[in-house]
Symmetry: D2
């Protein structure tokens, strides 16, 4: 976004469904995304924050679900998310060794906004996700601080950059520069249109496995490449899925699970060393912290209509990964490591596809 050339701008259209206005998770009404990028010398890291809505999230929780594709990861907050089926704090993404810091920052942010937490009511459950950017970033330096998390939260809006930005600054995907990518789809259910969007933090995959809309781009890149070294399939990917479709936790979890199919179409084998985690929410069916009634009315999807939602989740995920690659610039980082951008190969790929 924000003037960046995305995968569709190269004539590559994933799937058949209509996109949202921005082709972004922020097409889901109320969802905002913000970054804080840290760069300099050996530092290539940052924070990305996703706010599910613009009200008080602790007081009006969103229905949520998570799914672990491969669990070699350190994401925090999913135990409670799964038990209660809600998210009550912004979702924050950062590097693996900074999740504790990010957690602490979200706690401070939530305490500031809610005087009741830890005083007259219970505590709060931050959702913090991560990938390991240690190849390009001095991850041992623990450069992410409280204020960077707050900056990402404050920067959150409808339009945001993709690629090597925020938590994606130092990430590597299919041996190329990865990072933040997003996409969305519109779905007609009954007489109304709904939106589903995905944001990925991409940091997984082996270079010669990269597949673009069925084309084995990675093998071409590998042949073009001078370096000829095979990366291994490790690193992780975080998938945040947002929707405005009325669903229960169980239904939403089924949708989250489908994102794995989108990932796998980009070529991955869900390597052992990868933490592949999905966090999903819907802005329908909000749950009040101070609910006075004994029972609450919610709306559930007629499960026979869920196939289109599955398809949309898969299309979004595949496209979001490709956007994360094509928007990311070649990056030089820690110890002189360089990771090249997909942009350097895209015209060759377009010729051969």
């Amino acid at each position: 976004m924000k003037g960046q050339k995305r995968i569709r701008d190269y004539g590559i259209r994933i799937g058949s469904m209509e996109t949202g206005r921005l082709n972004s998770i922020t097409d889901v009404q109320g969802v905002h995304v913000g970054h804080c990028t840290l760069q300099g010398d050996d530092i290539n890291t940052g924070v990305t924050a996703i706010k599910p809505h613009q009200g008080n999230l602790f007081r009006e929780k969103v229905t949520a679900a998570s799914y672990v594709i491969n669990g070699f990861g350190k994401t925090m907050g999913t135990i409670q998310l799964e038990e209660l089926g809600t998210i009550e704090a912004p979702i924050v993404l950062t590097n693996t060794l900074s999740v504790g810091t990010a957690h602490q920052a979200v706690v401070r942010y939530m305490l500031q906004q809610n005087e009741d937490i830890g005083d007259t009511t219970g505590t709060v459950n931050p959702i913090v996700c991560e990938c390991n950017d240690g190849y390009l970033n001095d991850i041992r330096g623990l450069h992410v601080k409280d204020e960077h998390v707050l900056q990402a939260l404050e920067a959150a809006g409808e339009e945001f950059l993709e690629g090597a930005v925020g938590a994606g600054t130092g990430m590597t995907c299919y041996g190329l520069k990865g990072g933040i990518g997003t996409a969305s789809r519109r779905i007609l259910l009954g007489t109304e249109a709904y939106t589903i969007g995905v944001l990925v933090l991409s940091n997984f995959g082996r270079k010669n496995d990269l597949t673009i809309d069925g084309f084995k781009a990675g093998q071409l890149i590998y042949r073009l490449d001078k370096e000829k070294e095979l990366s291994s399939d490790k690193g992780s990917v975080i998938i945040v899925l947002g929707a405005d479709i009325p669903m229960t936790h169980r239904q939403l979890k089924r949708v989250c699970k489908r994102t794995a199919a989108g990932l796998s179409r980009t070529g991955t084998h869900f390597g052992n060393g990868s933490g592949d985690i999905v966090i999903g929410f819907t802005t329908a069916n909000k749950v009040k912290h101070y609910e006075a009634e004994s029972f609450i009315g919610i709306r559930a999807l007629n499960e026979k209509r869920i196939d289109e939602v599955f398809r949309a989740a898969i299309e979004c995920t595949e496209e979001a990964v490709l956007n994360s690659l094509i928007c990311a610039d070649t990056t030089k980082g820690r110890s002189g490591h360089v990771i090249h951008s997909l942009k350097e190969y895209i015209s060759e790929i377009a010729l051969n596809k």
Copy 2:
């Protein structure tokens, strides 16, 4: 029921909550239970059927959940139950080697009632649960036939026998005669009263572990006993939980999980060889097979009120196990094996408690 002397009739009151009218799972409006008992020579087995409501269950499914306490068991149908959160056929209990037969019988029963199944619509998912009654029953003889399942289904009503009857005919629990037991509790949520009930098929536990309302009855029995042999903690227990409380699948699953606490208060260690499975449903929030709308309205419990439901599930389970014991008569079975009734010890227990 039906004139049987139950654990409360011996002055033992489990917990503090009010019971339903019959203190039975059938206190949940519409739930019926029926038995078919097979006895003679080496045969001590049977079938118990639970119908969640009296309409067409395939066309009006009940919201459901399951929970595996210990999975050394052969219960059928839980994969789909968990994926879709519904039950669409009566729940049938029988012996371990007859689950296939019972499954086939339920299929026939459902095909007869629904001409669309397997023709113009999909198939059907029977729920068949089991315990191993091989100590008292010639289980290798495969004596349960299609017609016995149908007889149990046809016999289903509000009042039913407990103890050594139906699927419970040959079961052994804490080294004593076990089988079918039930109990229920009433809960006030908001301004309305709701009912939760549990039916157990008890076939687990080691004799000297039996605990009755905190009293180590098993150790007393063990001392009184001439035989002095220690049974091992294997066999299995099936717990069927019914309610009329509006809940989602996720909430109901949490309630199902609590029944383990009720079981453990009767003294069990959830032995390796035991298949301890919980099947739960609520008659609120029915799901139509031919739903025309894209979205359906359902009611969910305000989760802050769920503690009373947890407590009720635990009380019901503990009491249902004790009812299964105290209602069961001493039984002689395969190869002359004899399993004694708790009744033989209950006055001694009452004196010492």
Copy 3:
């Protein structure tokens, strides 16, 4: 096999790894597969049996795991499989309404082979899996009988047919004739070569989603097709994965989970109405029923080497699905329904790919 022309014979090579001798699950030493096919008038159904080894499986269980990709299915036996991590009876595949019959037949078969079951030792846990062949088969007729299961068990050997045979006789996959398919891969781990194989019962997918090695074959077929009707993504797929690689239950479960990536590369969205179940076993680390020792030595894979096993599982699954399609002949069945073979389109696909 047995002279059938498979997907490789059309020049389509899935992945980069070496296949086993037969490119079949039976390349895993000791694994045998047998079919019983029922065909005539409205009948198109059958049974396929997989034996993990040729000894007494109850006395020497194989280490096993399962994974539910989508749970709209009626597979039996996975609760115990997951709790104990073993399989102790042949795996049997058939149609959805015949799983009870198949279960009963396997019980009889196991009782006959093991006089101790249900007498001096516990019971047995059959693994029965299914797909719904109701479009081509009179599934309401319940045509599968005990003897058909036994015939499949007796027919089991190293070489077996693929396509519209055994349990695959009436199955439909991507709107084309599906059924049984298999593939295998060889892996060098340390100094030794190991084998992993997959057998699928394919009955899933929407016609225009079919993807063959990245090529959107389904869209081509859809354009070529006169009928132009869109099938929906329901039906199910069963994936049986066998290996001779020393792994624990946990490791094997991780491998089972990867087969979903292989499936998704053939184009599926894991539709709501599909029961997509994986059953995996390894012939290494057998578990004795009458183990005398308190502890047993087993061998586990160094988890850093598991990526190659993941890759092999994915390649096998993708190729097995394609083999199930290309080996299946056009089939006419119930009510005159006809499902065409991929063979009718393959030359056109080869031209356009």
Copy 4:
């Protein structure tokens, strides 16, 4: 320990198995426990650290498993623990809002000890568990700092205090002062003796539910009490289980699950608002970070012997909870809140039991 009067010293013996030398988790060879206690004015909080062995835990990981009894909790690190079946960093317990801080401190501690982490090898997965001590502690003040975590780690040894100490300083259990408690059991498996131990951080339960060895102590306390207010069943409990028994991840997970039975015997209903999490490890079957071999030999328990391990886990858990209560002194904290010690009632209980 360290001269504290424990529940056995009041004549209350839980279960029938033999305890270890110290009746502590540290009876498992190599396990050390340390506290850092923060107290003053409104502050009642702290940190407790458990080291599974005294070597380099990152280089020699322990086989591990976790189990969520009720997931209203914020424990970190279980996603990877479950995927890989190992623990590679000390387990740290603290208050709910300080888990981020504790995570960061463990990261620093591990980076200092391992120069390869985040440089030439991957990252590290801290296990941080929590309960909410907000009733007695100014939890909003975020008083736990990095150095307190390091102090707890440095203080770790075989003998340690129980009750209102370390992470237990501000915890409340059954309306009484709770905190840290421990217990152990010895088991003969084959010809050798093994040890299993449990450490709890207790912060759950409603006052009148407390059950001590079957006796409804809570009801007595409630009658004796002047205040007569009913606490609700929220707060959480963390259960850390250590053993030296050769087991696989799957077996250990089964053992972890049994601790719920021990908990439930103390009277809890696993309330909605409670995060009840179990972390288990065995010092047998260590996993090397730099394993050179493709396969590793491990020892597994003959599953038929696992019942005694289940029983031990249950006995340890029940006794550890009681030790956490009886060792804790009456504590005055935030806003003048006072929580009384079980000691004030124990003689009355002993008289009535």
